[in-house]
Each structure stands twice: as C-alpha cells, then as structure tokens.
C-alpha cells in the first residue's frame, strides 16, 4: 500500500511551465529577455558586438601575433610556433615561471586554509569584534593595490625583513585570504547546520564531523576560492613589483621588463599561455561556485 512515490514527479513539474505559447499576438508581451521590436534587437546586437570587440580585440591580436613569423613588424608573415619553442629555451622566463609557480602554489595552500577557517569562524560564531574582523577582511580587496604594495614594503623595512621570494609569498597570502574567506562564506550561507548535528547524532565526534561532513559539503567553495587565489597570485604585478627581492622575479615582472625593451613575439607567446591558464582556472572556479543543488543533482 505504501509504495515509495516516484522521484521523477517532482523533477518533471517545472519544465512544463516554461513552454512558449503557440500563438503570440501583436500585443502579447514579448518573451523574457527579447526586445519587442526587430530594429531594437538589431541595435542591441550591434552594441553588444562593439563591446565585445573593445574588450577582446587586443587579446585576440596578442594571441594571433604570438603565432606570427615576423619578428619586428606588425605585419602578418605566416604561421609559426617557433616563439613557443623559444620560450622553452629562455632561462630568464623559465626561472620567472618557476618563481611564479612557487609563489602561487604556497600562497594558494596557506591562504585557502586560513581563509576557510576565517569563513567558518565568521559564519558560526558571534564574538567581540566580529564586525571589525569582517570589515578588515574586505580591506585588502578594496584598498588600491599600489597602496597595499607600498605599505608592505615599508612594513618589511620596519621589521628588517630582507626582500626575497618569501616576502612575495607573504604579501600574496595577505591579500588572498580575503578572497578565499568571501567565496567560502558564500558557500556556507546555504549550509544546513543540522547536517553536522546529524553526524554527531550518528556517533561522529567534532573532528570526524568536520572531515566527513562539513568539509566535503563546502569543498566546492574551498576549491573555487583556491583556484581564484592561484589566478590572482600568478598574474599579480603591482604588489610583487614592490616586494620582490633579488632573484625573486615572477612571470609578470619578467614580462614587463621584456616589454620595456620592445614587444617581442616571445612576450606574446608567454602572455597567451598565462591567459589560457588563468581563463581555465576562472571557468572551473565559477562552475564550482554555482548553486550547491544544481551541480550535484546532475550526475
């Protein structure tokens, strides 16, 4: 008598609502998102095309020219991948890349742990100075990077810390914590506390509850924060330029110093690679930040 009802019933319901009406009269309201008149729609299309052109044309040109056989001119002289091959022999660039990966790697790990813990504390507990903590957490994102860089270099001077790759890492961690904390907090906003209570009810202690329930549930947020931070760290120029010591040149710093001599196809090539890496990571990060239910139900 009491057979389990089919789960598909709930899932199929919303789909029928979104069907387009068979007849749309002249006075019928336009479907959501579309302009009511053809010329308006065309104008919107042109406008959008111009915006995208403005935003992405320089980047497209950069990528195209990284495959240009010509060394000096802006004229197209044929397709080549030699500049990418040359990169692999350029010890300066390889050294800078290694530095950048170390900085971004260490920053990501440390900032993700601290940022996640900060987000948990802010979401869970009310304590004295919570408001102030929250405000200061946003500060590194709001204040101009150049001020932040200047402040850091002054600070390192004051405590007599010699500039090195470690000062770069410390600086990057400092501003990265905020990003992780904000992303993870967003994930925690929809977190059902009774999940943790259920885990404890079933015999899991506080530590087991954290690792078996809390962390797995917020993991997409944590990974999204980590990827975001890795991206920000690996392409940071302003702060790094202040706090990088001798031999701690990161990739963006290296690219900039190469550009000062002249834009070469190698610069185009290394920039294209950096761009590709960042875009991939941002896309993955965005995916993971989507609604908790959405991504999981589709398997």
């Amino acid at each position: 008598m009491l057979t389990p009802e089919p789960a598909t019933r709930a899932a199929s319901a919303p789909e029928s609502v979104e069907t387009t009406p068979a007849f749309v009269g002249p006075r019928a309201p336009a479907p959501r998102g579309a302009a009511p008149f053809p010329w308006e729609r065309r104008l919107l299309g042109i406008h959008s095309a111009l915006v995208y052109l403005f935003l992405y044309a320089p980047i497209a040109i950069l990528i195209v020219f990284s495959f240009n056989a010509a060394r000096q001119t802006a004229r197209w002289e044929g397709f080549t991948v030699q500049w990418y091959a040359r990169l692999m022999e350029n010890t300066l660039i390889l050294k800078a890349l290694k530095n950048s990966l170390i900085v971004a790697g260490v920053t990501t790990v440390v900032a993700t742990i601290i940022g996640t813990l900060a987000a948990l504390a802010l979401a869970r507990y009310s304590f004295r100075g919570k408001g102030a903590t929250q405000a200061t957490l946003f500060l590194p994102i709001i204040i101009p990077e150049i001020v932040f860089g200047a402040a850091l270099v002054t600070f390192f001077g004051a405590i007599q810390l010699r500039l090195s790759i470690w000062t770069v890492i410390l600086s990057h961690i400092a501003f990265s914590i905020s990003y992780v904390a904000i992303v993870v907090r967003a994930r925690l906003a929809g977190f059902d506390r009774s999940l943790e209570e259920a885990a404890m009810d079933l015999g899991a202690g506080p530590v087991q509850t954290f690792f078996r329930v809390t962390l797995p549930v917020i993991l997409p947020g944590v990974i999204a924060g980590a990827l975001l931070v890795f991206t920000i760290s690996i392409d940071d120029y302003v702060v790094s330029s202040f706090v990088a010591g001798v031999g701690a040149t990161t990739l963006p710093l290296q690219i900039y110093s190469m550009i000062k001599v002249g834009v070469t196809p190698e610069v185009n090539a290394v920039s294209s690679l950096l761009l590709l890496a960042t875009v991939v990571m941002i896309v993955v990060s965005q995916r993971l930040q989507q609604e908790p239910g959405k991504g999981e139900s589709r398997r």
């Binding site: 009491l2 209570e197 009810d201 899991a204 549930v217 999981e296």
Partner: protein, 366 residues
C-alpha cells in the same frame, strides 16, 4: 512499566527567554510519546536536550538509568530524525544510512548489510546508490528514518519529520510510522504542532505551552478531557462555560448559574468548595442544536442566538452566542444531502443541548 527517558526538573534559558520551564516527565519504554504544542512552546528545545544538542540550565535527564544531562550527542544511545531530513548531500543513500555504523565497530561489509536491512524496513530497496538530491520529500524522510533506525537507538527522536510533506502523503507516513514503532517495540519521542497527527500516532501526549507541560495523558484522554483552557483550545474544543459550584458529592460536581437545574459533571478533584467559580467545556461535536429546550432525560439546554453557519464538507459548523456573551461552536455531521434551507436560520434563536456526561470540568485555578 520501565522508564526510558526521565526528565527531572529541566529548565532551559536562552538569555532572558525561558524556553523550557521546570519540566518533569517520564517516557516509558516502548511507547509512542508526543510533545505537542504551538511553535515556541519549548517542545523542540526539550527534544534537542534529550538528543544532546542543547544542555539544560537546570535539571537532570536520564536515559535508562544513565544520567546523560551533559553527554554530547555522539555518546548518547538515542538517534534523531530531523525536520529537514539532514541527509548528507555528498553521500549516496546507502552511505548515508551506513554513516554511523563504523562508530559502532562494524566493518564495511557488515555496515552495508545493516544499512540495506534498514532501507528494507522503510521500503526503499533499490534506492541505495542514489544521491539524496534525486529523492522526493517523502523518500528523504524515509532515508533519514532508516539512518536513525540502523543505529538501533534506545530512543528514537523525531523533530516534526512530516512537516514538509503534503497532506495525503503525511497521513500515509503517519500510519506507517506508528506500525513501525509498534512492530519494533521502540520508544519514539515525536515533536509536532499538529494535534491530529499526535492523536493518530501517540500512546501518550504531553501538551506544552510557554515552556511548561499543560497536560500529560493518554492521547484520547487529552482529547476528551482537557484540563486547561489552553489544551481545550488546542484540541479544538473552544467552547467555554462559566458556572458556580453548588456542591460536590461522590466525584460529581453540581454546577449552577447556567441553567435552572444544576449541571452534574464528573471531577477527579476534591478541592472544590461551594461558590467556587468553575469553568467547563463541551466538545463541539457533542453539542446539538435544537428547536426546543432539552427534552430527553437529563439533557442540558441553553438558549442561544445563531450567528453563522459554515459548511465544511464532513460537518456544518454552527457558530452561536449565549446570553452570557460567550461564543460556541457546534458541529453537525452532514449525514444527509446538503440543503440551502435549514430548520435554523442565522440570527434566530435555538437551544444548544448536550448530555451532562460530556461536560468536562477544567482544573481549578489556584
């Protein structure tokens, strides 16, 4: 009968707010016990204290003969079914049900088998590998139930587990739950704000209001013999009469002031004294509307003015007003075809009658 949960003088304060106020009660082994009351009455807080999610400000809680007042949830022999079901979204159904079994020392294979048995108990075979997001509300609560039952708790706590289900499904699951409890012989402590739900399933009900237990009795007793105005109101009997005690003899209270002849009503209290004011209720379905004053033997009759007639399908509700200004509800069962006209008309006068044995005297106010 042996005691399963013993709550002794428990108070819980959140700052200035008293959520649970000096509650003492004992839940028997193997009974279906409900905490019933409106939201904010303290029923959920009391349940959460039994589960270990809150700790009392004062008082002691024992499960079996163990004092568990200060034990964390993971050290108590009880399990909870949460209102939100609280299934772990990153685990499949079977992993959810097997979650706690490793803490009972079961190896992976034994845990899986036990989880499968628990799922069979709630008729969810074949759903083992689904993620909770692919289940309906009713299925989710079944999994939550299986997860708690797999732990073989001494007491199962249920925090309004059916609140999110639609009416029809809820009725089904209520019977299912009751049968499951009976066949397992397990102690269930069930929290609800729905009196019908509590009546359907419970052996005993504690009606709570403002942190206190207003009445604790067998469920039919709570329904038929409310002790306070609040309980009467909450159990759907908002018909209050005021009278004066004339005399008390052999458990019968003679109440005057409302009718020419005294109303005889049973009472278990012997503290009544002549001239004490007394409040009593009569359930709406036990009242009759008549054109003539009480005819048959011993019936009580009061003349009233008819204020409204509400057709409700099973019943027609007559809203009437006595000459004392009080409003009363009378349920007339619709056992004949509906007719627009009636012997009674709104605005007219009629007689409200009842058998004196249906007079329920409320507790004397101290």
């Amino acid at each position: 009968m042996s005691v399963s949960v013993d709550i002794a003088g428990v108070t819980k304060r959140f700052g200035d707010f008293v959520a649970v106020d000096r509650v003492s009660l004992q839940i028997r082994k193997g009974e279906f016990f409900s905490l019933l009351g409106p939201s904010g009455c303290g029923k959920t807080t009391l349940l959460r204290m039994i589960g270990g999610f809150e700790f009392p400000t004062e008082g002691v809680i024992r499960i079996g003969d163990r004092d568990v007042t200060w034990l964390p949830p993971y050290k108590r022999p009880v399990n909870m079914v949460f209102q939100s079901s609280a299934l772990f979204p990153h685990l499949t159904v079977i992993e959810n049900v097997a979650f706690g079994l490793r803490y009972k020392g079961l190896n992976n294979g034994a845990a899986k088998q036990k989880a499968r048995d628990a799922l069979a108990l709630v008729r969810l075979e074949g759903f083992e590998d689904r993620p909770p997001a692919q289940l309906s509300g009713g299925q989710r609560q079944r999994v939550a139930l299986a997860r708690a039952l797999a732990m073989e708790p001494e007491v199962l706590l249920l925090d309004e587990p059916l609140a999110a289900l639609d009416q029809k499904l809820r009725k089904e699951v209520q019977l299912e739950l009751k049968n499951l409890q009976k066949s397992l012989g397990l102690t269930f402590v069930f929290v609800t704000h729905d009196q019908e739900e509590a009546l359907t399933m419970s052996d005993r009900i504690a009606v709570m209001n403002q942190g206190r237990v207003e009445q604790l009795d067998a469920s039919h007793h709570v329904f038929e013999y409310p002790k306070t105005e609040f309980v009467a109101q909450f159990m759907g009997a908002p018909n209050f009469f005021t009278g004066v005690v004339k005399s008390l003899a052999e458990g019968l209270l003679y109440i005057g002031g409302r009718t020419e002849a005294d109303i005889r009503a049973r009472t278990t209290s012997d503290t009544w004294r002549p001239n004490d004011p007394v409040r009593f209720v009569v359930r709406p379905e036990k009242l009759d509307l008549r054109t003539k004053s009480g005819t048959s033997d011993g019936e009580v009759s009061i003349e009233v003015t008819i204020e409204d007639r509400v057709y409700q399908g099973v019943n027609t509700v007559w809203v009437v007003r006595g000459d004392d200004g009080e409003r009363y509800m009378i349920y007339e069962q619709n056992d004949r075809p509906f007719q627009e006209s009636s012997r009674f008309r709104v605005g007219g006068r009629a007689f409200m009658s009842w058998n004196p044995r249906d007079t329920v005297v409320l507790e004397k106010k101290s």
